[in-house]
Structure formats: C-alpha cells, structure tokens
C-alpha cells in the first residue's frame, strides 16, 4: 500500500474509533444520569427505585436520630415540599433555608438520600467552592 493510501486508512480508522468512543460516551451519559427534580415535581410523579437529583431549600425544623438526619426540602419559590432522610454527616454550610442538591430514591412516602450526595450551596453569591459530604 503506498504511503498516501496508508495515511488515508489510518485517518479513517482513527476517525471511526473516535466516533465509536463518542457514541459510547453519549449513550452512557444518558443512561447513567439522574434527572433533576424540584419537590413539587417529585410530589406529582416519581418512579420507585429511580434516582433523582432533588434541588430546593431546607425547611426549618429538621431532626437528627443517630447518624441520620430527617429534613424536608421545599421548592425554591413555591409550596411543595418532600421529606428526605439522609444518613451521614451533613456538609458544614447545611442550614435551614439554604439550597441543597441531593440524590434521592423514593421509599414509601418519603425519599432516602444517597450517601455522600448532599451538596449545600454556600450562601454568598460568588463562591470558590461548593460544599459536599
């Protein structure tokens, strides 16, 4: 095979590999992702066993029993709220009224948070880092 043909072949092979990898990437990202939901959206419809990324504000009055915290997450601007139980240490900025992001799974009437997935947003507008456990 003359060099220029060899190069064309190489290029086609490389391009195909890249396309295949990109395809795998795209496919797995859609299947491995968890949808973002607000509390109202979760209240309306939620599949059992599916993991959702819940965002909202922490309602006043949360309790701790042992290492588990029981709190409610409310819509940012709205009335809907859902109960969440989360096992593990809370991030430092965790407070009533703060915005949180937590991956949850439905269990009965409430939701169970995945360990290590709770992120509390720092209150100042410009922050260098989010906080998570």
């Amino acid at each position: 095979m003359d060099p220029s043909r060899k190069r064309k072949v190489r290029f086609v092979v490389a391009l195909s590999v890249a396309v295949l990898l990109a395809g795998a990437l795209v496919y797995t990202s859609f299947s491995a992702s968890s949808e973002a939901r607000t509390p109202s959206q979760l209240m309306t419809s939620s599949e059992k066993g599916k993991v959702y990324k819940l965002t909202g504000k922490v309602e006043p009055g949360y309790t701790r029993k042992g290492t588990t915290t029981y709190f409610r997450v409310r819509d940012r601007a709205g009335k809907g709220s859902v109960p969440v139980s989360y096992d593990g240490t809370l991030p430092d900025p965790f407070r009533e009224g703060r915005e949180v992001i937590v991956s949850v799974r439905r269990q009965g009437e409430g939701f169970v948070g995945e360990k290590g997935s709770l992120i509390t947003k720092c209150p100042s507008k410009f922050t260098a880092e989010q906080n998570k456990t």
């Binding site: 990437l25 797995t28 968890s34 990324k53 593990g88 991030p91 430092d92 260098a128």
Partner: protein
C-alpha cells in the same frame, strides 16, 4: 477614593480601545510609531488597573465600610492577611484581579518582544486589549467594585470562614495567573494566523508564558484539591465538580499544546493541531472563568441569575467563531512540512498524546455540561456523577501515563525493533516486575490501580534511564565527573530534563491517586466519649470532648469550637493523638437572638489529619449541639428581657457562652465522626511538587553561554562548520 477607582476603570476602558485602534492602524499602514503607541497603551492599562487595585486593597486593609464591597466581604475581626485577600473573594474584586494580571502579563510579553515578531505583535496587542476592553466594560457597567455604601455601617459581614485558609487565598491568584497567561499564546496565535506567519517563531516567542500558564494553573488546581481534602468536611480531593472541571479542561489542552509544539519545531508537523489547541485553551480558560461565577451549572435554571451570563457567552462565541474562521481560511498555510512516516515514532506518540488529552477534555466537558445538553435534547435536565467520569478518565489516564514513558525514549521518524528494544526494554521490565510483585501482595483486587502502579514504575524507570544516558553522553563530551555532568546536563537542557522531571512527578501523583482512591477505608459512626471505632487496620477512640471560645485579634469573639480529642491505635500500639473540631462563627443577621446567633452563622470543620508516608488518617466531627438548644433559647429570652448597658451585655454574653461550652464539655451528647484511612495520599502532593519543580526548571532561562564572536565569514574561511558553544 471611590470616584478615583471608578475613574481609573473608565480610563482603562478608554485606553484599551485606543490601544486596539492604534495597533491595528499601525499594522495596516506599516507606521511603527502607532504600533509602539498601542504597546504603550498596554503598559498604561496595566499601571492604571494596578492603581485601581491598590485603591481597593487599601480600602479593605483599613476596613473602609464606605465601600460596599468591604462591608459585604470583610470585617474588623478579620485578620489583616485575610482582609488583604478578601478582595478577590468577591465577584467584582476577582474580576479586577483578573484584569490586573492580564494587563501585567500582556505588558511583559510586549516589552520582551518589542523588537521581535513585528508583524504579529500588533495583532496580538489588539487581541489582548480586546480582553481588557471586555473585562473593563464588565467592571464599569455591570459589576463595579467601587460601589458606595451609604450610610456606611460600623461593621462588615466578614469573610466567609470557609475561605479563611492560606490555600484558599492563594488559589484564585494562581488560577487567574494561569488563565491570563494562556491569553498570551492565544493572542499571538491569532496574530500569526491573521498575518499568515505560521512557522514556529510565534510559538518560541511565547513559550515562557505558555509554560508559566501551565505551571500556575496546575498549582492552582492542586491547591484547590489540597484545600478540599484538608479543610472541607468530606475528606476527598476531587469531586468532578463543575468548578473543578472548569480549571482542568484548559490545563489539559494546554498540556497537549506544550507537547505538540515540539513536533512543529523539530519537523514542521502538527501545525493545525497546534493553533487549534492553543485557541481551544484560550476559549476554555475564558469558559472556566465564566463557569465559576455565572451560576449556570451550580444552580439549575439560573442562567439569568447573574448579569454576567450573556456578555461572557457572547465573548466565548466570538472567540470560537473567530478561531474556526481563522484556522479554516489559513488551512493552506498550515500544511505540514513532513508526513508521518511510521506509527512507531516519536511524532506518532505525540499525536496520540494529543488525542488522549483532547479526549479527556471532551469527556470532562460533556459530563460537566450534561445538565444543559440533556435539557436541550430531551427537555429534562439530568446530570452524571463521579462514577461516570471515572469510567472514562481512568483508562485515559492510564494511557497518558504509558505515553509519558514511551514519548521521551522512542526514536524520531521510525523506531526500529532494535531501537525499541534498546530504549524500552529495561523500563518495561521494571514496570512488569513491580506489577507482578504488587499483584502477589494482593493488589490484583483493584486492577486499574495495579496497572497504574506498573505504568508509574515504567515511567520512573524510563526517566532514570534517560538521565543516566544523558549523563553518559555529557561525560563523553566534556569528561566531567558524574555529579557535575548531571548538573551541567540539566542546566544546558532545561526544557528536556525539566520535562522529564514533570513526567516523573505526574507518575508519582497518579500512583498516589490510584492507591488512595482504590484502597481507602471509610466509616461514619456515632460515638460517645470512651467509645472506639475500627477503620481499616486502625482503632479510633473518642477520648474526650473539647469546647472553647476563640477570640479575634481585636478582642471580639471570633468563633466557638466544639470538638474531640481522639486516640488512634493499631494492634494495641498508639499511632497518634488527634484533635478535630467544628468552628461556629456568629451571624450578623439582626433577627437572631444574642446567644443563638453564634450557632446560626457559618460553621467550618477543622479536620484532624495525621499524614504519613504510607497512609493518611483523616477525621472530622459533627457535634450534636441540638442538646444545647433549650439552654440557648432560654439565654436568648433572658437577654432580650434584661435591660443592660453594652459593657454589661458583653460581660454576661461571655459568661453565658462560657457556661454553654463548659456544659458541652462536661456532658457531651454522642457526636458523629467521619473517619477515613487513605493510603499514599501524601504521594499526590509530593508528585505535584516534583512536577512543579520540573516545570520551574523548564521555565528557568538558559545560561547565557560564552558569546563566542564566531562569524560566518570565519567559518567559511576555515572551511568547516560553525562551532557550537557546548
């Protein structure tokens, strides 16, 4: 001084616009005095921005609460060091710092190349000033640091306690230095494309800045990881968080660029790759700057939350479109001088390196922006977590380490079998031996980590072999003893051996990452004083609680610490005594009671860290202050009811808080502990240090060798070739 500050920024904007006009006019008409004027405009911008910055710094240092920014980000109880650095904890101050650094580096490069790259420099000046115009306009019209607070309050809100750490204060200037330094090769690449001067001159002229950018951005990233690990309460160093990813992406393409240009310089190949990589790095640097402060990914659906979203997006789109148009229209000038001769060659390895780094960047990009992508495609916003990122970045990282071992030792153009044997055999054997030994010791349970250990050993062996061979070559040429030969070798070939050192450091870093993530033991447990928990091979005992009031330098109460003393033992032998606390900072919110305000403000963890060569023991505590709540509420009521003078108030407040802390210490409720034993974390930081040392060596200007006045005439007369200073 507010007016002076605002005026400075307006002057910066005006001068930048003038500079662009002067540079372009001078370039088009060939009138060099206008080009010089445009260059001086950059110096003027740097000086004026510095003045504005000094005005702002002074306001922070003297706690001038007439400046809104000082009120919202500092306080009289903030120590001086943090008052100085609080400037860039704010959106506006950080943008000003960005502009300052950009103008300083721009001034430096234009001064250093004032007699060179004469066709390209005016366009590069225009591009750099273009960035200045953007940031100055944002500072003048959208986010001014010189906002007046009237009436000026007596006390500021204080610096976010989470930022009260030296790392966190050096981290932004390091990152911004990295981003703004990358603007320099970006600007010169644009200039080179516009003027069609696409040989390696623009690359050579800007190389120190590219290297420095790589260095500072890398330091910034590692500092961020270190801060996350030792200061935050979760015990990890990397979370694939959008903010982290934003800084990593330009670093990856910048690394690819630094390597790929070697091929252009040696063999005139990969020209399109090089301009594309540096243009992409510039775009990603701006994207990174934008991502951190825009809120489009941290908060969902908050595209309009920050006023900066639209302008930054416009800038990024302009940069992308402009880059594509430039490269496409200059494609004929970017043709390679040579073609790839063989897949087994240095050129090929470097090309593969480009592909791996770009692939890694693409994976991270896709994962970071997936919430926006999925919303655009499916209407549902979804996100991917660390496991998805790891799935792709781990194999790519393994390939990267492998390439970093092969690259330096493989031959140019065509590596024959005997060549490969000579250069790769011993390092490959070293890698395999390490692999086998560790597998026998039980590391085979984590194949990816095991492979990384083997590859790391391979790279370290390859680097050692290179050093050995270089010393041997040097001795053959100069007859020096080995130590002196080594020093001279590195001194005279800083880029090469600095680079090899970087590879060694990066391998050590990856070994540390592999070990600490794959063989980690972690536990979260509720403990009462006296109780013990087992983590990995260690027993951790909660010895006794601690509770202290901490005062600021000016005497006011800074924070309350609740924590624990822990004892760590292994097989009955004491390993360490550790302390970990949670600090509670008071809030200034007016609706809070005088006692409870101390428990409703920010809280930070003081992690207990026992670092070691073989493993780190990491502990954090979440004390249960719920049991104190009844007393806190009672205290609030008592205080609001009583009629006290300010001194009496302070005195009784002190007493009440002391009482609270004592009661916690005497009868502590069970506290939640997070305990982690991570092997070889220290090697991550050591690897990074080695890599940055290598970067410094590569950056250092070469020694000015003996300026032998050899002229071409002499050489021709003698009839032999020029004698090169060795």
């Amino acid at each position: 001084m507010l007016i002076a500050g605002k005026a400075c920024l307006i002057l910066v904007l005006a001068t930048s616009l003038y500079g662009i006009a002067a540079s372009l006019y001078g370039a088009r008409t060939g009138r060099r005095e206008w080009v010089a004027s445009g260059r001086r405009a950059v110096y003027a911008v740097a000086a004026t921005t510095a003045l504005a910055f000094v005005i702002l710094e002074a306001a922070f240092l003297r706690s001038d609460f007439g400046f809104t920014l000082v009120t919202t980000h500092s306080s009289t109880t903030t120590p001086a060091f943090y008052r100085a650095t609080a400037v860039w904890s704010s959106q506006e101050g950080s943008l000003l710092l960005w502009l300052l650094l950009l103008s300083l580096w721009s001034s430096l490069i234009l001064f250093l190349t004032r007699r060179r790259l004469r066709e390209i420099a005016p366009y590069a000046t225009a591009v750099l000033l273009g960035f200045a115009v953007f940031f100055a306009a944002v500072l003048v019209f959208l986010e001014t640091p010189f906002q007046q607070a009237s009436p000026a309050p007596a006390e500021g809100m204080g610096l976010n306690p989470l930022l009260r750490h030296p790392s966190m204060m050096i981290h932004p200037p390091m990152l911004y230095s990295g981003y703004t330094l990358f603007a320099v090769p970006f600007a010169f690449a644009v200039g080179a494309l516009i003027t069609r001067r696409l040989n390696a001159d623009w690359i050579r002229g800007t190389r120190p800045f590219t290297l420095a950018a790589w260095f500072f951005l890398g330091v910034g990233i590692v500092l961020g990881a270190r801060w996350s690990y030792s200061e935050l309460g979760w015990g990890g160093y990397w979370a694939w968080d959008p903010v982290e990813n934003a800084s990593l992406m330009p670093w990856l393409t910048g690394t690819a660029f630094l390597h790929s240009v070697m091929i252009q310089e040696r063999r005139g190949m990969l020209k399109i790759w090089n301009v594309s990589l540096v243009l992409a790095t510039g775009v990603l640097a701006i994207l990174g700057t934008f991502l951190v402060r825009s809120g489009i990914l941290d908060s969902i659906h908050a595209f309009g939350a920050s006023t900066l979203g639209v302008p930054f997006l416009a800038l990024i789109v302009t940069m992308i479109v402009g880059s594509i148009v430039l490269v496409a229209s200059r494609a004929s000038d970017l043709r390679s001088d040579h073609k790839l001769d063989s897949l087994l060659s240095r050129e090929s390895v470097f090309l593969l390196n480009n592909l791996v780094l770009v692939a890694m960047c693409f994976v991270i990009f896709w994962g970071t922006f997936f919430p926006l992508i999925s919303e655009a495609i499916t209407g549902e916003e979804a996100s991917v977590g660390p496991p998805w990122f790891d799935q792709y970045t781990v194999p790519l990282a393994l390939m990267l380490v492998l390439l970093s071992g092969i690259g330096p030792v493989i031959a140019w153009r065509r590596a024959t079998a005997s060549n490969l044997r000579r250069n790769l055999l011993k390092p490959a054997l070293a890698g395999l031996v390490v692999l086998a030994v560790l597998a026998a010791l039980g590391a085979a349970s984590e194949p990816a980590a095991l492979l990384m250990f083997g590859l790391g050993a391979f790279v370290l062996a390859a680097v050692s072999q290179e050093l050995w061979r270089g010393v041997r070559a040097r001795r053959a040429m100069s007859g020096d003893a080995a130590p002196r030969a080594l020093v001279q070798l590195v001194r005279r070939n800083r880029r090469r051996y600095g680079g090899y050192l970087v590879h060694a450091g990066v391998s050590v870093l990856f070994i540390g990452i592999a070990a600490s993530s794959s063989f980690q033991d972690e536990k979260e447990v509720l403990l009462k004083p006296g109780q013990t928990a087992t983590v990995g091979a260690y027993e951790v005992t909660y010895v006794k609680p601690t509770a202290d009031l901490k005062a600021a330098p000016n005497g006011r109460l800074e924070k309350i610490d609740f924590g624990a003393r822990l004892r760590v033992t292994r097989d009955g032998e004491k390993v360490a005594d550790m302390t970990t606390v949670k600090s509670y900072f008071p809030s200034l919110a007016p609706f809070l009671g005088p006692i409870s305000r101390f428990f409703e403000g920010e809280a930070t963890s003081e992690v207990g860290l026992q670092a070691g060569w073989r493993r780190d023991i990491w502990t954090a505590i979440a004390p249960d202050i719920g049991s104190l709540r009844p007393r806190i509420e009672e205290g609030d009521k008592v205080f609001s009811g009583a009629n006290l003078s300010p001194e009496q108030r302070d005195a009784f407040l002190g007493q009440a808080l002391t009482g609270l802390t004592r009661s916690y210490a005497n009868d502590p409720p069970p506290a939640t502990f997070r305990l982690i034993v991570s092997p070889m974390v220290t090697w991550i930081w050591i690897g990074a240090l080695i890599a940055f040392l290598g970067g410094l060596i590569a950056l250092w200007p070469p020694p000015r060798g003996a300026r032998s006045r050899v002229t071409a005439g002499y050489a021709a007369k003698v009839g032999r070739e020029v004698r090169i200073p060795a």
